[in-house]
C-alpha cells in the first residue's frame, strides 16, 4: 500500500501544510511497512523537488510542465491523474488547503472515488484505514471508511499532524512530464492580489480579544471593545463579524484572515469553526467565553467560562482593571 503525498507550492514558495501532510504520510507508511513518495507540481520546480528529497521518502516526483506554471483545477487534475495512473498508489494525501479543495474532489471523481476532506486523524486496524473527520463545524466527529477499487484520497486538516515530526533522509528525484494540451485548461487565472494594505498587524499583538457571532448585533460590540481596552488588547473577530461589516476585514483571524500567535487570546462568543481555529491555534494561552459548553473552542482553550457573554465580559473587564490597578 504505497502512499503518495501531494505537496503544495505557489510561485516557488512551499505551503507550510505540505510538511504536516508529509509527516502524516511518513507515519502511515511506517505503520504499513510501505514506501511513501511525494509529488510537487509546477514549472521549473527542480529546487523545490531537491528540498523535498531531503526528507525520508522513497521518491520525489517533480511534475513539470509549462502549462502548470499557474494553478488551474483542470491542469492540476489532468497532471496528477496521469501520475497516479503511472504510480498506482493505494493512498493519496493532500494538505486541506483552498487549492486542494478546488481540484482534489475532481481528481478523485476521475477514479470513481470520493475524497475524504479535512481529515483530523487516520487509524489503521488490521490493515484497514479509518479516517476521522468533523461534522457540524467541529461539534461532532465521525469515522469514515472508504471502499471502491481506486486509491483512497484524503486531505488533512491544518495542524492535525505536526510538521516537526518529519523525518529527514535522502530520496531520488524523478521528473514526470504530463501530457497536457492548452485547450483542456478552461480556467484562465490572473495574478493574485490583495484588496488593500493592512493597517492593523494583529500578528504583533501580545494580547488579542476576539469576537464572534455570539455578540448578536453590531451595537453590542462595545461590551467586547471595553474588554479589549481593559486587557490593553487588540480587537479581532471571526469571519462572520467582518463579513457583516461590523469590523474591518483586516481584523479577521482565520484561514482567510490573519494567523496570530499572541501570548493571550480571548475568544468571546466564538464557537470555534476550524477556519477560525487555524488562525489562532498558536496562541500561548487561550481563554474561551461561550454560552454553549459543547462549542469546539473549548477543545483548544486553556481556560473557559460557560455563560452569557453580556454578563461575563463586563465582569471580566472589571476584574482585569482591579488586578492591574493592584
Amino acid at each position: 500500500m504505497s502512499i503518495l503525498v501531494i505537496l503544495e507550492q505557489q510561485a516557488g514558495q512551499w505551503h507550510r501544510m505540505s510538511w504536516e501532510t508529509l509527516a502524516a504520510g511518513q507515519q502511515l507508511a511506517a505503520a504499513l511497512g510501505e514506501p511513501v513518495e511525494a509529488a510537487v507540481v509546477g514549472k521549473a520546480i527542480g529546487a523545490l523537488a531537491n528540498e523535498a528529497a531531503a526528507k525520508k521518502l522513497a521518491k520525489v516526483w517533480a511534475v513539470e510542465q509549462d502549462l502548470l506554471d499557474s494553478y488551474t483545477a483542470d491542469g492540476y487534475t489532468a497532471a496528477l491523474q496521469q501520475l497516479i495512473q503511472k504510480t498506482q498508489p493505494k493512498l493519496v494525501l493532500f494538505p486541506h488547503t483552498y487549492q486542494v479543495r478546488d481540484f482534489a474532489p475532481k481528481l478523485a471523481t476521475r477514479f470513481s472515488q470520493v475524497l475524504v476532506s479535512d481529515a483530523i486523524a487516520a487509524r489503521l486496524e488490521s490493515g484497514t484505514l479509518t479516517l476521522v473527520r468533523q461534522f457540524f463545524q467541529g461539534k461532532l466527529s465521525g469515522n469514515v471508511r472508504v471502499g471502491g477499487a481506486g486509491p483512497v484520497f484524503a486531505s488533512l486538516q491544518a495542524g492535525a499532524w505536526r510538521a516537526d515530526a518529519l523525518e529527514s533522509g535522502s530520496a531520488p528525484v524523478e521528473v514526470f512530464a504530463p501530457v497536457l494540451d492548452a485547450e483542456q485548461i478552461r480556467q484562465k487565472p490572473e495574478a493574485p492580489f490583495r484588496e488593500a494594505a493592512r493597517a492593523v498587524d494583529l500578528t504583533a499583538a501580545e494580547i488579542i480579544v476576539s469576537v464572534g457571532r455570539g455578540v448578536g448585533e453590531q451595537s453590542n460590540l462595545s461590551v467586547v471593545e471595553d474588554l479589549a481596552q481593559a486587557f490593553g488588547a487588540e480587537l479581532a473577530a471571526s469571519r462572520p463579524i467582518c463579513d457583516a461589516g461590523w469590523l474591518p476585514m483586516e481584523r479577521q483571524v482565520g484561514s482567510s484572515g490573519q494567523t496570530v500567535a499572541p501570548k493571550l487570546y480571548i475568544a468571546v462568543g466564538i464557537s470555534g469553526a476550524i477556519q477560525h481555529l487555524v488562525g489562532m491555534k498558536g496562541a500561548k494561552t487561550v481563554v474561551a467565553i461561550n454560552k454553549d459548553s459543547n462549542a469546539p473552542i473549548f477543545e483548544i482553550a486553556d481556560y473557559g467560562i460557560v455563560g452569557d457573554l453580556f454578563e461575563v465580559a463586563p465582569a471580566l473587564a472589571a476584574e482585569v482593571r482591579k488586578a492591574k490597578g493592584a
Partner: protein, 256 residues
C-alpha cells in the same frame, strides 16, 4: 441566462446535536431546519445575476419531504421554479452518489451557470459542486466572491488564503461554489411569499434519475469529540468566574 442553484436543507445553527441510536448520524427528531448558509449566498448571487442579465433561476434541492419548506422560501425570495429530488436518507449517499443525482437532474435543463455554496454546514465536505462539474464536463471554480458575465463566459473573483484574491475567466456553462458573506441576503417579501405558492416544484425520485449508486465512502459512526486538552472551566456567577479566571491568568499563565 439560465442559472441553477443547488441548495441543501440543514439543521438550524446552534441545534442540539446527539448521535442517533444507529450511531451513524444525528438524531433529527426534534430539530428545526433551514437553508445551508453558503447556499443562501449562492441563491442571492443568482437572483442578482438574473436582475442584471435576465433569464431564469431554478432551485435544485435533494432531501426529504421537509426540504419543501426550504425550497418554498427560495421561491419566495425570487427563484422561478424548483426541482426537488425526493430522498429520505441523504446521508446514506456519498458526495459522488449525490452529485450523480444532481447532474442527472441538471442535464435536461441545459443551464448556463450552476451556483452552489462552497460547503454544507452539516457534512462540510465542500465537494458537491466540484464533483457535479466533473460529471457534467463543465469547468468550475470554488470559494467565489463575485461573478461577472462577459460575452460567452464569466470572470470570477476567487478567494485565496490569508487575504489574497484572484480573478479567473472561464467559458459557460460552468459551476461555481460560492463563499458566504459576499452579498447582503434579501428577505422574502409578502408578495414573494404569495407568488411562491403558485410556482412549480418538479418532484423527482432517485430512480427516475437513474438510481443511487452504492456509496464508496461511508460514515460508520458519529460521536462527540474526545477532549484532547484539559480546559479549566470556571463556574458560578459571572463575577466569581471572572475573578477566578483573572487569578489564573495572573499567577498560573502569567500573561497579565
Amino acid at each position: 441566462m439560465k442559472i441553477i442553484v443547488a441548495i441543501k436543507q440543514v439543521p438550524m445553527r446552534d441545534s442540539p446535536l446527539h448521535p442517533a441510536l444507529s450511531g451513524k448520524w444525528i438524531d433529527e427528531a426534534d430539530l428545526s431546519f433551514e437553508i445551508n448558509e453558503p447556499d443562501a449566498y449562492a441563491l442571492e448571487e443568482a437572483l442578482q445575476l438574473k436582475e442584471k442579465h435576465g433569464g431564469e433561476v431554478v432551485v435544485l434541492c435533494a432531501g426529504p419531504e421537509r426540504a419543501a419548506q426550504t425550497i418554498r422560501e427560495a421561491l419566495a425570495k425570487g427563484a422561478d421554479r424548483a426541482i426537488h429530488i425526493e430522498i429520505d436518507a441523504l446521508v446514506s449517499l456519498d458526495t459522488l452518489g449525490l452529485a450523480k443525482l444532481l447532474a442527472a437532474a441538471v442535464t435536461p435543463e441545459k443551464p448556463d451557470l450552476i451556483l452552489t455554496g462552497l460547503q454544507s454546514d452539516d457534512l462540510g465536505a465542500g465537494q458537491t459542486g466540484v464533483v457535479m462539474a466533473e460529471l457534467l464536463g463543465f469547468p468550475h471554480s470554488t470559494i467565489i466572491m463575485q461573478v461577472e458575465v462577459r460575452d460567452a463566459g464569466i470572470r470570477v473573483k476567487r478567494e485565496l488564503e490569508s487575504g489574497w484574491f484572484q480573478h479567473i475567466e472561464m467559458p459557460m456553462p460552468a459551476v461555481l461554489a460560492m463563499q458566504s458573506g459576499s452579498n447582503k441576503l434579501r428577505y422574502a417579501t409578502l408578495m414573494g411569499i404569495k407568488k411562491a405558492k403558485s410556482k412549480e416544484i418538479h418532484r423527482v425520485t432517485p430512480v427516475e434519475l437513474g438510481g443511487t449508486a452504492s456509496a464508496v465512502a461511508t460514515i460508520e459512526k458519529v460521536y462527540l469529540p474526545q477532549k484532547s486538552k484539559h480546559t479549566q472551566i470556571f463556574e458560578g456567577d459571572a463575577k466569581t468566574a471572572a475573578a477566578q479566571l483573572v487569578e489564573k491568568l495572573k499567577f498560573e499563565a502569567r500573561v497579565i
